[in-house]
């Protein structure tokens, strides 16, 4: 039986490789994982996939967790880091309940492997507030009662807060688009729209005030 040399890093091979060699060193960057994987591939080893220590940067802090390469980011956040604000509802990318930010971009944590998050800046619902001080979107959600059972709420908040980061003057259609992937079974959508639009309006007001102040100072 001939041995076919591996010339490409398939997902499966990559996982096996990473699982094999990394047990002794913490993989703390995407480059480190790639390096480990390449070495494993060159040696054509195919044992694994065992747990490996990886470093995740979550809500401004580094955490080292020992996980199997197959663990999703959602599972790792919830089961390994105890950050259960990120909810798992469909576990296949169709409901957005697990929305987190990766380098500031809304991302589905159930569709992302934890090892693919190494070296990235992860923000979860727990990291959106400053201690007990709510993010303006969270405060507006409470004010407008944009929640009932609350299971979709963290994902909704993350989607709406991300919208306001990239669009300071959203219209209703923009908010609907931003949460078009976030399913809610209790039917809180209208209040989600109202809460988000109000934060945007307040942001505009604050911006206007700042402009005025600047003008006065000038």
């Amino acid at each position: 039986m001939s041995v076919t040399p591996k010339v490409e890093v398939s997902r499966r091979g990559f996982l096996k490789g990473a699982g094999l060699t990394a047990a002794t060193t913490v993989l703390d960057s995407a480059a480190a994982i790639a390096h480990e994987a390449r070495e494993a591939m060159q040696e054509d080893r195919s044992v694994g996939p065992n747990a490996l220590p990886v470093k995740l940067h979550v809500n401004g802090q580094d955490h080292t967790v020992t996980i199997e390469p197959r663990y999703t980011l959602a599972e790792t956040l919830r089961d390994n880091l105890g950050l259960t604000g990120t909810k798992v509802v469909c576990d296949r990318g169709s409901c957005s309940a697990c929305t987190i930010w990766m380098d500031g971009i809304p991302t589905l944590a159930c569709m992302t492997l934890a090892i693919d998050s190494v070296g990235r800046k992860i923000t979860t619902i727990e990291g959106l507030s400053q201690g007990d001080r709510m993010h303006p979107v969270q405060a507006a959600f409470v004010k407008h009662d944009a929640m009932q059972c609350g299971f979709c709420t963290p994902g909704m908040v993350m989607s709406c807060a991300a919208l306001l980061e990239r669009n300071h003057d959203p219209q209703l259609a923009d908010v609907k688009h931003a949460v078009s992937g976030n399913l809610c079974r209790c039917g809180t959508y209208p209040k989600v729209f109202a809460a988000t639009l109000e934060v945007a309006q307040e942001g505009k007001r604050t911006a206007r005030l700042l402009t005025l102040n600047t003008a006065v100072e000038a």
Partner: protein, 804 residues
């Protein structure tokens, strides 16, 4: 697993039995005057005989400090910040994760189950094979079943076993290693096919299903021929005579689909089996029913079973009792000697519960002046391996009619069991009945709203119709099919009825400490409906402190018993107990501190948040100042809900108005505007009530336009058990929604509160959309969901294989 209360859309006459009315009229009562009626009609007063320990009557909401004022959700910040701990989030030291193994065939006998490979997998701590499956109908005569070592499989996805391991991933690996072999039997997953004389029998003999504490379940002991169970028949007057007297008759068939609950948090439990106590974290609508069922199944005293539900991710009727997953989790925990978390996955959630479908034949007759003369309904529906597909609630209880005949049949098929689902039987029943009423109005050449003024004697719905007439475009309604272009617009209304149920298992304790802190404790749970908030409001109003200052501790059976949340019973059942306890502890506080203030307790009264002397307004204290004078470090009072003040049978309801556009080329239906006018007694927190109505309307649109369980007829399993192919309404399909609450002072309890879960729009929307669709196109949609394919078929633009 017996049903405590049945909420299947039964006749009012039968369903008011839970109310225990005062029998003993010794000197323990007094007569109070209560505010009564609907503000729009002018409020009046009514006298009621009430027990002496009941608090004085409340004035109308506008005169109260917190009751009736929009109040932000008690746990809103925790939810918005991701801090609420749901059952799915519970983590205990040494906790294991469990997975269920489900049947891969729709009907058959298990010949072997090999768990050895799973047990050998490193990290696996326990395996449990189910001995008895709950949730299916049970044979009246078990001897009709050929004896079998394992439970007979009657639907694909039926739970068979569970496995617990140190991680969810290993539990999944282990579940895949459990080998089950079957002796397959013929199956049927189609309601119409199951009615045939030669259809495969789902059960080898007559079988009945119990409902849950949330309702569902069908009649017991009725005739069963093949898979057809029933009818449950109700016959009042003589319908044939009624039709003979009619000037106009409408007669049609209607079809509705199976809807799955799709609560975002799946069913699940964390069970910690210890010799001294069984602790259960449950995603449930009833901590008490869960405790009772675990005690029953494991033959434990209730005192050794503790159930906790701090946060709950939606139930909609499907989450009562222990469930198969709860029993499996407890067995695994007992075997592994460690806490076990078992949450169903999304596929399992879609399969284990649903709202039954229906095929309804409906005939209504009326005289020229609109007087109804006869209503006849025959309905067939499938609740899979369960029962409870009856749809006669609206036809029976919405309007008075001297001649009524309803016959409800359940049809067994090899699919997951039906369960109570928000107003069981009413959304499909209303879809048919309120469209037929609309059609009758057209036939009588009457305005559909005016027609309802004629036949509906509910004073609240009369006010609600008036609001809709004044606040919507109804007066500008055009002839059916008036638009000439491909996009046609129309408007329609439909009405709902639901029943005032009260659960007497409603108790609480209110505690005041010397530092002024106030706590409320009850086992009642908050599903997301806002129970915590409305309890805080009731206590706050009694003490004159902000609702946010009241500490609410609920969802734990260590506290006094609370009602299960099904059938819109929670607010109406628990709030009087809460107000009574708060009132009683306040009286104790006054009695304890009055001597220190140099007065008598009866000279103390709460006004605008301050306790003042009745005879001297200048003497004013906060509750905190008074509590500081307590001789002991705390005082408390416990109260249980008293009987309803009158025997009157009450209903709630609503009227919903829809504007829509139908694209007759693509078959798409766009809902543009919904206006809902609804009543639920005295609203305690209008903000929360409106949230629930929003939700009911949105679920109702979702039911009308999108949702449908699809079964593979050849293979016998659910094809779309996920959230991408089982479509629920998303943000882009949300119309403009406006809601008006109608206060209705009913003088039935110390709070007059009532629930809104059922009559919140889920009942009416499919019918209102159907009526608007007719107004837009001149064509009746008698089948939901109104998908493009079904719409084009109804418009005669595409052929659709009629399957039901």
């Amino acid at each position: 697993m017996a049903a405590e209360i049945m909420l299947t859309g039964e006749l009012l006459q039968e369903s008011a039995t839970q109310q225990k009315l005062p029998a003993d009229k010794s000197a323990t009562t007094r007569v109070d005057k209560f505010v009564f009626g609907i503000p729009q009609n002018g409020l009046t007063e009514i006298e009621r005989e009430v027990p002496l320990d009941e608090p004085p009557p409340l004035p109308q909401n506008s005169e109260l400090l917190y009751i009736g004022k929009p109040t932000p959700r008690y746990d809103g910040a925790a939810k918005a910040m991701g801090r609420g701990k749901y059952t799915a989030d519970v983590q205990l030291p040494g906790m294991l994760y469990a997975r269920m193994v489900d049947a891969t065939i729709p009907h058959g006998r298990i010949t072997s189950i090999d768990t050895s490979a799973a047990e050998k997998l490193p990290g696996v701590k326990a395996v449990h094979v189910i001995e008895h499956t709950y949730g299916l109908a049970e044979l009246r005569d078990p001897k009709q079943e050929v004896p079998s070592r394992y439970p007979v499989i009657r639907y694909a996805g039926q739970p068979i076993a569970g496995v617990a391991a140190i991680s969810p991933q290993i539990a999944s690996d282990a579940a895949a290693l459990i080998k089950v072999t079957y002796d397959a039997m013929p199956f049927v997953v189609d309601r119409q096919a199951a009615r045939a004389a030669d259809a495969p029998a789902v059960f080898p003999g007559p079988a009945d299903a119990a409902g849950s504490a949330g309702g569902g379940g069908g009649p017991k002991g009725v005739q069963q021929v093949g898979n057809v169970h029933g009818p449950q028949r109700r016959n009042v007057g003589d319908v044939e005579k009624g039709f003979a007297e009619a000037d106009a008759i409408v007669e049609s068939e209607y079809f509705t689909q199976v809807q799955t609950h799709s609560a975002l948090e799946t069913h699940g439990f964390v069970v910690d089996w210890k010799p001294e106590e069984l602790t259960i974290y449950a995603s449930t609508q009833g901590t008490s029913s869960v405790r009772d069922e675990f005690a029953e199944v494991f033959k434990l005293p209730k005192s050794q079973v503790r159930v906790i539900t701090e946060y709950m991710g939606g139930g909609f009727g499907a989450k009562f009792g222990a469930g198969n997953e709860g029993v499996v989790a407890a067995n695994l925990s007992r075997k592994a000697k460690a806490p076990v978390k078992l949450m169903l996955d999304r596929k399992q959630e879609h399969i284990v519960c649903n709202r039954p479908d229906s095929h309804q034949k409906l005939k209504i007759g009326a005289k020229k002046d609109g007087t109804l003369t006869a209503i006849k309904l025959e309905s067939y529906g499938t609740a899979g391996v369960g029962t409870g597909a009856g749809t006669a609630g609206p036809a029976t209880n919405l309007y008075k009619c001297p001649n009524l005949l309803t016959e409800e049949y359940d049809v067994f098929i090899n699919a997951g069991p039906g369960a109570a689902f928000r107003a069981p039987g009413h959304p499909p029943g209303c879809f048919a009945f309120e469209q037929a009423i609309d059609e009758l109005a057209v036939k009588l050449n009457m305005d559909p709203l005016a027609f309802r003024d004629k036949i509906d004697d509910s004073p609240t719905r009369k006010v609600e119709r008036k609001i809709i007439l004044e606040r919507t475009n109804w007066a500008k309604r055009r002839q059916a099919g008036a638009d000439s272009g491909p996009v046609k617009r129309g408007m329609g209304i439909a009405q709902s009825v639901w029943y005032r149920f009260v659960n007497m298992n409603s108790s609480c304790e209110v505690r005041v400490s010397r530092d002024g802190s106030v706590e409320l404790m009850s086992a009642v749970q908050d599903l997301g409906t806002g129970t915590k908030t409305l309890l805080a409001i009731v206590v706050a109003d009694e003490f004159g402190i902000p609702p946010a200052d009241v500490v609410i501790r609920i969802g734990d059976t260590r506290y006094p018993i609370g009602p299960d949340s099904g059938g819109s019973v929670t607010a109406g059942s628990i709030t009087p107990a809460v107000r009574n306890a708060a009132f009683q502890v306040k009286q104790k506080l006054f009695a304890a501190v009055a001597p220190k203030l140099g007065t008598t307790p009866d000279n103390l009264v709460l006004r605008k948040g301050q306790v003042v002397f009745k005879n001297d307004d200048s003497k004013s204290y906060s509750i905190k100042q008074l509590a500081a004078k307590l001789p002991t470090s705390e005082i408390s009072a416990r109260a249980t809900r008293g009987a309803e003040y009158s025997k009157e049978r009450l209903t709630y309801g609503g009227v919903d108005y829809v504007e829509l556009a139908v694209d007759t080329e693509t078959g798409r239906v766009h809902i543009e505007k919904v206006f809902g006018a609804h009543d639920c007694g005295r609203p305690i927190n209008p903000m929360g009530v409106i949230s629930q109505i929003n939700g009911g309307i949105i679920q109702g649109i979702s039911y009308a336009l999108f949702e449908e369980r699809v079964m593979d007829r050849k293979q016998g399993y659910m094809l779309n058990a996920n959230l991408e192919n089982y479509k629920i309404l998303g943000a882009r399909e949300v119309p403009e929604i406006e809601i008006e609450l109608v206060e209705n002072y009913i003088a039935q309890s110390s709070t007059d509160a009532a629930g809104i879960g059922e009559s919140a729009g889920i009942i009416t929307l499919a019918a209102a959309i159907g009526n608007a669709f007719y107004n837009a196109t001149g064509v009746r949609m008698r089948r939901i969901p109104m998908t493009p394919a079904n719409v084009l078929a109804a418009l005669g633009k595409a052929s659709l294989e009629v399957t039901a």
